[in-house]
Amino acid sequence: MTVPFLISQVSSPEIIDRIPGAYDHFVLPFCIGMVFCLCWLGVGLVRVLANLSSSDRKDLLLSFLNPKILWKDIKDIFCDCLLHLKIWQRKPLLGYMHSAIALGWFLLIVLGHLEVWLFAPRHLYLDNGALFYPIFYRYFIWMNPGHTTLRGSLFFFLMDLCLLYVLSGIALAVFKRFRSKLLGMKHTTKPSLMDRVALYSLWGIFPLRLLAESFTADLAGGSFLTLPANALLRYLFGENLYFLPWWWAYSICLGLFFVSLPFTRYMHILTEPLLIVMRNAGIKVRHPRKGFAEAEIYACSSCGLCLDACPMNVQKKNLRFSSVYFIRFLRRHNEKKINRIADKCLQCGKCLALCPVGVDSPAIRRRQRAAGNDPLPFDYSALKSPVPAGGEGKVMYFAGCMSHLTPRIIKAVLEVFRKAGEEFVFADEDGGICCGRPLMLAGKDRAAREVIEANRKMILESGCTTLVLSCPICLKVFREEYNLDGIEILHYTEYMDRLASRGRIIIDRKAVSYVYHDPCELGRGCGIYDAPRRLVEASGELRKAGKEGDESVCCGGSLGSLTLNYEDRGKITAGALENLLANNPDRIVTACPLCLKTFSDATPGVPVVDIAELVAGDTV
């Protein structure tokens, strides 16, 4: 051990290089791991970018020049990757755990580099150990006890504070691994072998760092954590502490983590910023495996929150169709399983709503379906969409296929039109062309384009100014794919809410309690949560469901699934009903023909009604 012979002097600098040359062999494991990881990431990044379409690449480039998007990038990365606000909002303890590890580690790195920049700036050059010096700073320096400043003490304090912050997160993580339920997760995923290697090394990194820095704290300085620990160690092992093995262990742990990282779920730490940047640039999934999808796949943290979210979790055998496993098999290129999982999904979007990373696995599944189904034949040459007469400047009502199976919705909507004195045309009174959404859900995109075009032409030629829809499935595709410039597209709940707020209809409140079921395509699909609730509250008492809003449970009738049989759908319906009846409402009210029919068929014990019926019935 080389102990500097310099006598402490105020005139000498605060920090003095303890090791001439600022190198020791123990940094090698870390350096190898880091270089390997960086190379891997570099290649991966190039692959992702190379597989983007040229227009997507252009959009990505332009997004960096747009200050608005750039600001959003920075904000999102800070909030999602470091603070983990999304997890905080749902499960505070889990959120604390993630932010402690992510933000704490990030701060350790930033502060560590800042310290080096302030006290030993020459080591920030690559030829002077920039790769490892800031990481193992405390090993290489000797603190001049005769020259302590407030600035130096502040850093010692901050570094210890951050370390404590990270350690508290790690402690929670260890605890979670064994008792996940206490942190609010019912289901959790099993880590693979590589995941375990990375996990245990991640667990090891920070306690070892504490030990290593504690061992050298008398030489290199420390604060409230490392100095007392150092005193304790000296009390236990004597004055001459043999500290090198701990620095070796710390470095090995770091190296192991970085070498295993590319093959584990912890890739999400590094991929998430890329995903955020690409998403903010407006890039969409075009291929189920390549380009943007690859960024999504590697950004999945495999946390398993989607297991609790998936409505199929009412049956244990169907848990394997959850998003986390879909992404896992995509990473492993298990084609057979990928296809089965892709086809089974209900496309309710709850996993996306709850995903802390925002991996749009429903979209990837649709791309996967398209790979098989888009080439399938179709011939829509005979389809005709007659333009309804006299629609100029009026409201057009488009009921959609499913509403024709729930005539009470159509009848109620028409009655509200009449009571409000609205002039309207009924576009598909005698049946019409499907909106195209079911085709898109099945991955038949070319076919969907054709029916969309046919309907679009009919609507534009009718001259109507407002389009009122009663099916949320239609609504989503009309809003996202139709490009009906100058025509306002409204779900009837929005339309009726507007009628009520403008006093065109007056709803009489009755002494009945309701629970409102958020249809997937209306809530998570189109973000409409408040208008229906205002209408329900106007006609009676609105009670809460067990889970609602963006956490509402799919009714089980969704057209999203291609393979789910009706027995399994029945189980999902039963689960959804149990959630709705949590607070004993008199009635269940919903705003989607498919949900209405699915729930009524299941005989829930309380009447199931549609909001349109409420409004039509209670309007005076």
Partner: protein, 335 residues
Amino acid sequence: MAKNIIVIGGGPAGLEASARLDALGYTVFLVERDNHLGGHLALWDRLFPSGDPAEPVLRGLVSKTGSTKILLESEVQTLNRLGKSFRISLSSGVSVIADAVLLTTGFDLFDASKKEEYGYGIYDHVVTNADIESYFRTGKDPRIDNPERIGIVHCVGSRDEKAGCRNCSKVCCATAVKQACELKAKFPKAKVYCFYMDLRMFGRGYEDLYLKAQKEYGVRFIRGRVSEVSEKIDKTLQVKAEDTLSSTPLKVSLDLLVLMAGMRPSKSGSKVAKMIRLDTGEDGYLSVADGFTGMQATTIPGLFVAGAATGPKTLPETLAEARAASALIHDYLKG
């Protein structure tokens, strides 16, 4: 001392069994939750295949009950075993100890409003088979207004997985053809269509009824299940179905649509079965000891079943089962 027997359900099966057991000298308690006897039979106007009125049949059944103690408006609160005997307590406050129990809890009519697409309870001119019978008994129903085009939909809530009922309800086909004839007789100018999936005219005289409907009443039978009904502004109904025999989708305008609501397991019957821990099958009907030789017995000694409580049955079958159950109970109590 005469032994006590409780018969739960005052429909045809309960009445017939009570009469037989009373004649055999037992003390019979007939428990009925409604305020009248006869069950669905009391709501029916005429019976297939002959078209004889239901009322005299019911009157005959009631008149033979003899000294049976009839407990109306009595719902079963508890039913449990007490050694070899049974203890029952009723909502009326009465409780009885009996040596044997016969469940004749019958069936419920399928709630036709559950088939959303047919518009029962939503459209002005959609009725059920029970509404038609009530119309013929009372002569009043605002929904039936001199119809010129009448449609009858078979299998509403039967043979339908979506309605939670896989089984055939057995009696609706014959009822539909009977009602088609009756409606045609009542409204001679009307055109009557029957929409069926399979026409199950299995009993004696049923085929004759079918023939009569075709030959004398000119009922048009269309092999296709109605999939959708919509209402026009003038309140006429438009019905969509496929004529599967000619592979043509068709639509037809109607002034009246009659839904043949099928049989569902009785809800109150299932409740009673649960009290005594009698199993129900996957279809919801009460389980019997043996599907061939033990149709009236259950796995619980002293507990017997008869009639539509164990599956859809016609009236003659129900009455025959009631008599069979009586004989079986007699054997049980004697031995």
